[in-house]
Amino acid sequence: MALPERKTDIGPPHYKQFMPPVIVNNYGKWKYHEVLSPSAMVHVADSGDKLWTVRVASPRILATDSIREICDISDKYCDGHLRFTTRNNVEFLVSDEKNLEPIQAELKEKGFLTGGIGAGISNVVHTQGWVHCHGAATDASGLVKAMMDELVDYFTTKRLPNKLRLAVACCVNMCGAVHCSDIALVAVHTKVPTIDHEKVKNMCELPTVISSCPTRAISPDPAKKSVKIKEDKCMYCGNCFTVCPPINIKDPDRDGIAIVVGGKVSSLRTNPKFSKLVIPYISNEPPRWPKVVAAVKHIVEVYADNARKHERVGEWIERIGWESFFKLTGIEFSYQCIDDFTFMRDTLRTSSTFKW
């Protein structure tokens, strides 16, 4: 069958053709919204028109047939309108209040998980992992699934002092906003890479490899027409591997998971913050990563018990002090938690006022 004629540089379709009439009519004229439950909210326009939103979790990887099932529900209750969120949730846009209860009942009956709105845990921002990335040190979707199975109540019903944003990165590239999340997992390498000199010679541009190293650990090895790595300078970032595949950084027995906490992207109350390292290493244990999951759950619970209303994890920790965070959580403070890379000057303590 002949293919249709291709077009180039047309850009994305215009968004307005996909919006329900209530949005087109009240575009930019929303007055306020109310969170009705962790699963539903209502937006009210200046005109008095209302739009109800019902949110469900998705595993981000969706089979086309699952998208069609989501479409079937939207056709039935939302005149075929829906949207996705930046955190991989599906939002059903309900224009008629009488559909609000039935759609939630049907979603529940069909096994969808509704929730994620307000002061709890929403869906997890994550990377591709072993499903589809060459650089992955672990599987991101697997970690998310294992972690959220344990934390699911905070998505559906249980409330926290404020939103708690989780993220998973399958290597230190940290695609997504992993470096500014309340609690995030990042897969780390822990060993100096090995070099296949024969292949380096044929596959890699040596100046690019040498300049890829942030600690200048890589220098030319003229005899081998390759490069060498100064072991005590390497901190296993894997950037050399990214530009030169024969420099192998993957090591199943040594790759692991680090946990960082206290980041945020919003400017509410306090400025946006990076997440900071609290647990430098847990072994990579698919398929359910039990120790990683237990650690995250523990930190969530200590936060839930100790933070004041509206405090994000990072704000709570800044108020009580990091020494108190380690004390409250019982997490052992390790050398890795002291920055010896680019942020040392900003992060070491310079006063004698701290808590015991």
Partner: protein, 409 residues
Amino acid sequence: MKKYDTPLLDELEKGPWPSFVTEMKKAGQKNEMANDAVGHLEKCFKTRIGYWKHGGIVGVLGYGGGVIGRYSEIGDEFPGVAHFHTVRLNQPSGFFYTTKALREICDIWDKYGSGLTNMHGSTGDIVLLGTNTAALEPIFAEYSSRGWDLGGSGSDLRTPSCCVGPGRCEWANYDTLDVIYNLTQEYQDELHRPMFAYKFKIKAAGCACDCVASLARADMSIIGTWKGDIQIDQAEVKNYAANGMDINSEIVGMCPTECMSYDGGELKIDNANCKRCMHCITKMTKALQPGAERGATICIGSKAPIVVGSLLSWVVVPFIKLEPPYTELKELIRKIWDWWDDNAKPRERIGEVIEMKGMRSFLEAIGIDPQPQQIKEPRKDPFMFYTDEDIAKFKANEAEEKKTGVYKF
């Protein structure tokens, strides 16, 4: 179709959270590529290592971005994923869809690819996971003829994205959806044909809540804000109090600039001391609204840790009005790209180049004056550059002071 034994992945079909394994198997029931992707992933779980090769150069005619080449090292064992390229489709602003549009996307993808998707990728695109090289041109013809185009990848403008904005949010200080649609259309060439030193991301957030994580992961972060007084509906303030909100503790006491007061009657805001963080507005959404003069703050430079640590975007333009056709914003973007192009080494993001060359060089190039809103605090060291023009200006000011007898600092 080969049936794979997947004891490890089967563990991830248990439990209440929706399972990506179930999704992969579902696609695998009717698609050989997806089926092999399941077997391939089980092997990764078993050996605790990945088998994807670095991306190769594949794409569609005339484009350099939008398709990410992916090949397996063990394609002989799993022929369905020997080629398993990703196609990025540029999402509509705000991720709004009709079911008709989604079904069309699915039907085409089932015809040529694995049937697996990401809704959505981190950059914002619709990610179609897994197809082979021969299918790329047909895929592009099918989608583009129906109004869908590819997104960015590699050293180009990455697919711009935004929050839900005026589509469904009372806090949108500018039209995030329109700005992103408009910029995406304006820069089709930069999006599809990699011509930069490295990637460049633009993300548009309507307010300081930053639901698109713009400040943390966009080379250009456009964050909505306002000038003027927060609009207060005192009757609604009373309602919040009547409904049990402890306004002094939850609102006044958590205001970072201590610019609010409440004595049980009227809520008062000393707007000159408000830094527009949005805490009070988000908690009392019926009672408080941003001020009437709306616009955005432009921040530049954020990125993830590789290579020498993460950056958050720095304030460059404290306030800009954003109204169609966004001429001032577009001129700014062109100047930013020109300076970056002149100064970047390969694989250097704009934030890294600013660190190397200095903010002054950048600000002068794009024609923005130094302003205290750009910094947290002034420099702490005395090692600074003076140009002859700087000194001449200082001297000229002093000469003027001598004439008038009045010092101006």
